[in-house]
Amino acid sequence: MSLLAIRDVSKRFGGVNALAGVTFEVEQGDILGIIGPNGAGKTTLLNCISGLYRPDAGDIRWETTSIRGLAPYRIARLGIGRTFQIVRPFPSMTVRENTAMGALFGRPGARLQPGAALNEADMVLDVVGLGEKRHYPVLRLTVPDRKRLEVARALAMRPRLLLLDEVMAGLNQVEIEQALEMVRRVRDSGVTIVLIEHVMKVIVGVCRRALVLNFGRTLVEGPPAEVLKDRRVIEAYLGQRYARDQEK
């Protein structure tokens, strides 16, 4: 039995099919990379999984139960954490307080007291490499650090599955290396990861499998190195003519 199973999920916005029947599974311990051109439906897919959108059709199963249409906070408490493509910290709080929010409200079982939540925050801040900046007001953080904070806040919920929406976008080469290191540490701590990424180096660097979305459908799925060489993928990104020229 897989940890997360997406079955034929569709989502329409007006006349646009953002998702047109996507199917895939995520096994415990996996790192799945989702790539695709702009507008392929990647973020819509994460929004459906985390409950911000309700799919129009299809089913989303978490282990044995369907989570389709559940309220976002219930899905979060089941153990599915996520980050946003555009970082969304709580602006009036410090780094540590922001992180503690995940521990305070996102835990499935016992209600943590604020003190315990802050301790938990300290632990995950070390994992993402923000330990020294824990008392900063969030607005003082640089963009890469804000992305780390997003990850920390999700990790504080002790998720079993982490959905990362372009945590590497806008980072330079050195910062990408550091972020990759962070993702590996998170994986090694036993968290299953689904990540959306434009930076191919990231997909090849950490993912065990890659899934290419195009026009709301699954185009190709498989090991990253093979997927990136697939003619259909090159077509989707660079056009048919480029793909044809490559083969000559």
Binding site: L52, P72, R77, S92, M101
Partner: protein, 289 residues
């Protein structure tokens, strides 16, 4: 000089009432982004509850304040969950229209139940006051100010020292991010509105001690709460307290200024509103937008 001191004291005492009225209004506006046009009607429900308890059961108006709070909390929770929640993500105009309608419904119901007669709550001490030399401080006004400051303290503690308060502030900052860290959004919306309504109820109880009440007596208070929030600034308890006290002072001192009278109360309020919006749009203590 003592004339001036007396006016300042009366201004602060009146300001206390405005603090009580504006606390709940400010909370609902700041967190839910709803300018609640039914706020004054909720205030008057509280005033009628105090009046009923006073005339039927001879309960002191200040002792009935917790009853007002509890009753309005329940009404507020139900109102948000059942009605207002349906337009929570709609543009501001929809919530305006809806709360305006709720205001009309509440006022009409109050007219049916209590008729349009003037009702007043007159405890034995209502005419007396504290005499300090030539200065007089009416007891009921002093009690009102004390109750208002206590309310502000309670709200601050709830928002800053409790789990639910933290969740409410998180919802106010970013509702999507809040629900994705596990905050139950709909419950927090309803809870926020319920607290706002409960505070309105207490304000109504305070108001009933010095003013005769009718079903429509709440309407001016919606306007005044609005001005207080603009004046003090949105997003902080201390800003509402500062705004309320300042507005009370401005109103009393303005009315006693040469050439002006109490009939200028609304005019003074609007002048304050415009001046603050032009000179300092974030209010006295408001957060930077």
């Amino acid at each position: 000089m003592s004339q001036f001191t007396q006016q300042v004291i009366l201004g602060l005492l009146l300001g206390g009432v405005y603090v009580a009225v504006a606390l709940g209004f400010s909370l609902v506006w700041g967190i839910l982004n709803i300018v609640n046009l039914a706020h004054g009607a909720l205030v008057i429900i509280g005033a009628y509850i105090t009046w009923v308890l006073f005339t039927r059961l001879h309960i002191d108006p200040f002792l009935s304040l917790p009853v007002d709070a509890l009753a309005l909390f329940v009404i507020g929770y139900a109102l948000q969950r059942g009605v207002i929640n349906r337009v929570i993500r709609a543009p501001l105009l929809f919530t305006f229209l809806l709360t305006f309608g709720i205001n009309l419904v509440i006022v009409s119901l109050l007219l049916l139940i209590f008729t349009g007669d003037f009702r007043s709550v007159t405890p034995a001490y209502s005419g007396s006051g504290l005499h300090l030399g030539s200065i007089v401080i009416p007891y009921i006004r002093l009690g009102g100010l004390a109750a208002a400051l206590l309310l502000a303290g309670i709200l601050w503690v709830v928002l800053n020292r409790t789990r639910s308060g933290t969740a409410i502030l998180a919802v106010g900052a970013d509702r999507d991010a809040a629900q994705l860290v596990g905050v139950d959004l709909r419950h927090m919306y309803a809870l926020t509105f319920a607290i706002g309504a409960a505070f309105a109820g207490v304000a109504g109880g305070i108001i009933s001690t010095f003013q005769s009440i009718t079903p429509t007596a709440g309407d001016p208070y919606t306007l005044q709460a609005f001005v207080v929030v603009i004046l003090g600034g949105l997003g902080r308890v201390s800003a509402t307290v500062a705004g309320g006290l300042a507005f009370g002072l401005i109103e009393v001192l303005g009315q006693s200024a040469p050439g002006l009278s109490s009939s200028y109360a609304n005019a003074i309020a609007f002048v304050v509103l415009v001046v603050v919006l032009v000179v300092r749009p974030r209010g006295l203590l408001g957060r930077l937008a």
